[in-house]
């Protein structure tokens, strides 16, 4: 065995280490995704044999009001929160790049929400946003404001959930922090010698260098929010009140495991995939327009 391994060049051997992940991705993600694409053209309830129905499932999904609503809601969870989350993470990283004694505590506090399990996080926010007894509304009322009823109010339920997800920035924070450390300090010093204000240094020197990384983080965040908003929403509102927070993953789940329409669920799942692709493409086009990361050959 050793003999054979030695014949393989070092670089290839390193790639071999990725093999388990590759197998995992193919078997657990790609293959099921392909199968579900096939299933999208069948009527299938798992109890009776599947029946070919052409594009009926796509049409059923498209004409379902709940489906359209779920697509709108899903997009709403991405369009506003993604930029806020990424720039928030970046700003925090910049803020806590250097600092005094409590810097590690502060960094830990930013990381922490992303480390605790999603269910615990959702339940904690359910308590924070409790309209009558939650700490947030108690505080707002104490300073004389009339606080919203958050998740119990169709208008405020979505902002409530977005507010909760804004705190999950630990990953972006870490990556930004690492990227900021990578910037040679001479650059900043040079800018300051040239008389740039700290704002100008930030805007014209730091941000352009770090932009490609922020862009990748945004791609990832958009994909994450599109598909993984399910846990938070399911635990906090179950899509309510009256579908105000109903998302596409929930539509897929309910079609599949509630109504046993695996065909319609698969069709909707592929809409979600396409939507994810579309969001990433839009982000990419916007980035190119702004020439973000145009110097980075890896990216473009």
């Amino acid at each position: 065995m050793q003999k054979y391994l030695h014949r393989i060049p070092h670089q290839s051997r390193l790639r071999l280490l990725l093999l388990p992940y590759l197998i995992g991705i193919v078997v657990l993600y790609l293959l099921p995704a392909m199968l579900s694409f096939g299933l999208a053209f069948f009527q299938y309830d798992a109890l009776n044999p599947p029946r070919f129905v052409g594009i009926l499932n796509f049409r059923l999904a498209y004409t379902d009001e709940l489906f359209q609503l779920s697509v709108q809601n899903t997009l709403a969870y991405v369009i506003l929160p993604v930029p806020i989350r990424i720039f928030g993470a970046f700003l925090c990283a910049r803020l806590f790049l250097h600092g005094g004694r409590f810097i590690n505590w502060a960094r830990g506090a930013i990381l922490l929400p992303g480390i605790i399990p999603g269910t615990a996080f959702a339940l904690a926010w359910l308590w924070i946003l409790n309209p009558l007894y939650g700490p947030l509304n108690l505080t707002l009322r104490a300073i004389g404001m009339v606080p919203p009823n958050w998740l119990a109010d169709a208008q405020w339920a979505k902002p409530g959930i977005v507010l909760a997800t804004l705190w999950l920035i630990g990953e972006g924070f870490l990556v930004s922090l690492a990227a900021l450390y990578d910037i040679p300090p001479q650059l900043e010093e040079a800018a300051q010698v040239d008389g740039a204000t700290s704002w100008a240094t930030f805007w014209y020197v730091i941000l352009p260098i770090i932009a490609p990384i922020l862009l990748i983080l945004m791609f990832r965040d958009a994909v994450l929010l599109l598909q993984e908003s399910f846990t938070t929403v399911w635990l906090m509102t179950q899509g309510g009140p009256y579908y105000a927070t109903y998302t596409l993953p929930q539509f897929i789940y309910e079609q599949g495991f509630g109504l046993l329409s695996f065909g319609t669920a698969s069709a909707a799942l592929w809409v979600l995939y396409l939507l994810t692709g579309a969001v990433v493409v839009v982000l990419y086009l916007v980035a190119r327009q702004w020439r973000i990361g145009a110097t980075d050959s890896v990216l473009l």
């Binding site: 109890l47 409790n130 309209p131 009558l132 009322r141 119990a152 009140p241 009256y242 495991f257 046993l260």
Partner: protein, 426 residues
């Protein structure tokens, strides 16, 4: 060397043969419920295995009801369902419609341990699919009013009488609801009730209304009819007009059942299933009363049954377990957990259920109202019908839409499910 190998083979073969002849037939059994219930089922299985050493019952216990249904559906879909499972009469039709359940009529006819006459007829009716009995009912629960005696005493309100009316009920609820405090928060409510079709049903029946047009051949919801809407209006007014039930914000802040358990809600509508939980309350004394009556008495049947999957290999062993679970001995074991109102008449009338040392002291309420019970239709899409209609009822209950709008929306949105639904052939 060769001889040794032969010897080993012989020994192994012999050992395997021995193990085979001793190994019990396995029956898989899936239930849901809280830890106390789980214990009761383990006792039941232990008692059964002691009398039937040749059968090994393997319990799968799922804590939550909604997960239970998903799990059951998935396992039936995968072709590997539990041999025996506990199902509500509002849920089994989805499986019956796909021929996934074993008809139990022939087994019951041959049984020496249990007879049809042992059970309350209405529970059997709930599990009859066409001419076949598909599950053997474990319990005959119904909706009752749980009430906090301490709050009634403090407010000087008399305890609910056995023949109390809608007006008595509303008057008590009003007297037991506190005025809002300085922050505008109501700290004590008179009543808690889930705004759902299943909870609304008995009140509609009490007003001569209908939940569906025809309970045997349902084709649409009956909420748009006048007597039904009148009852629905009365039900909704409890919240929107009288404010004796938490509004949406208060409910979201702390749900009615938690409020009842915490001692800040005087009455809570529920079936027998919460009794084990409420028995753990030590801050106040509680009891149960029958539902108040409208133009007539009516209650709503809550019942679960033991069902056998059609694919079961050891049907005889599975039946013996179902038979035992529903015999006087088996139902006594489960009744002692407090969870069930036994469907076996002898057990229901025994101390296993009417235990004078345990709350609620008015447990007879469940037995005295058996004759007034009705069931919701048995149709394969009932779950979807119920949840869709309940969404609209909830909106009316919290004042987002009128009762007429809710009734019409509920009717229109469920039309498709009535079309797709399958009933037992008669």
């Amino acid at each position: 060397m060769k001889r040794l190998v032969v010897l080993i083979f012989l020994l192994v073969g012999f050992g395997a043969a021995c193990a085979d002849s001793q190994s019990a037939e396995t029956v898989s059994f899936m239930v849901f419920g809280d830890p106390a219930e789980r214990e009761a089922y383990e006792t039941l299985v232990a008692a059964f295995e002691e009398q039937n050493p040749d059968v090994d019952v393997a319990i799968t216990h799922i804590p939550s009801g909604s997960e239970y249904r998903t799990r059951l559906t998935t396992e039936f879909a995968a072709g590997d369902p539990p041999d025996v499972s506990l199902m509500n009469y509002r849920r089994y039709a989805a499986f019956a419609a796909a021929d996934l359940l074993e008809p139990l009529t022939p087994y019951l006819e041959k049984s020496e341990l249990i007879n049809e006459e042992d059970f309350y007829p209405i529970t059997l009716a709930g599990f009859r699919w066409g001419d076949d009995l598909l599950c053997i009912p474990q319990n005959i629960s119904s909706l009752v009013v749980y009430y906090n005696q301490d709050l009634f005493d403090a407010a000087g309100v008399p305890y609910p009488a056995d023949d109390w009316t809608w007006d008595d009920f509303l008057a008590a609820a009003k007297a037991l609801t506190a005025a809002p405090n300085a922050d505008g928060v109501v700290e004590q409510y008179g009543l808690g009730v889930e705004p759902s079709l299943f909870r609304l049903a008995p009140f509609v029946w009490q007003n001569d209304g209908r939940i569906v047009d025809d309970v045997d051949f349902p084709t649409q919801l009956g909420l748009t009819r006048f007597p039904s809407q009148e009852a629905m209006q009365w039900f909704v007014d409890l919240q929107t007009v009288h404010g004796v039930v938490p509004d949406r914000v208060a409910e979201a802040s702390q749900d009615s059942e938690s409020r009842f358990v915490a001692g800040t809600t005087a009455m809570y509508l529920n079936s027998r299933r919460s009794t084990p939980t409420y028995r753990e309350i030590d801050s106040f004394t509680w009891d149960v009363a029958p539902l108040p009556r409208g133009k007539q008495e009516a209650g709503v049947l809550h019942s679960d049954g033991y069902c056998m999957a059609a694919t079961t290999e050891n049907k005889d062993a599975a039946w013996r377990f179902i038979e035992f679970a529903n015999s006087a001995e088996g139902q006594t074991i489960i009744a002692q957990s407090g969870r069930t109102v036994p469907s076996n008449i002898a057990v229901a009338e025994s101390e296993a259920f009417l235990d004078p040392n345990q709350l609620p002291s008015r447990a007879r309420v469940w037995l005295d109202t058996v004759d007034t019970l009705r069931f919701v239709p048995v149709i394969s899409t009932w779950e979807e019908i119920e949840s869709t209609a309940s969404e609209e009822i909830e909106r009316a209950f919290y004042g987002d839409i009128t009762v007429a709008e809710a009734a019409l929306l509920a009717k229109n949105r469920t039309e498709e499910y009535f079309l797709l639904g399958v009933r037992g052939k008669q």
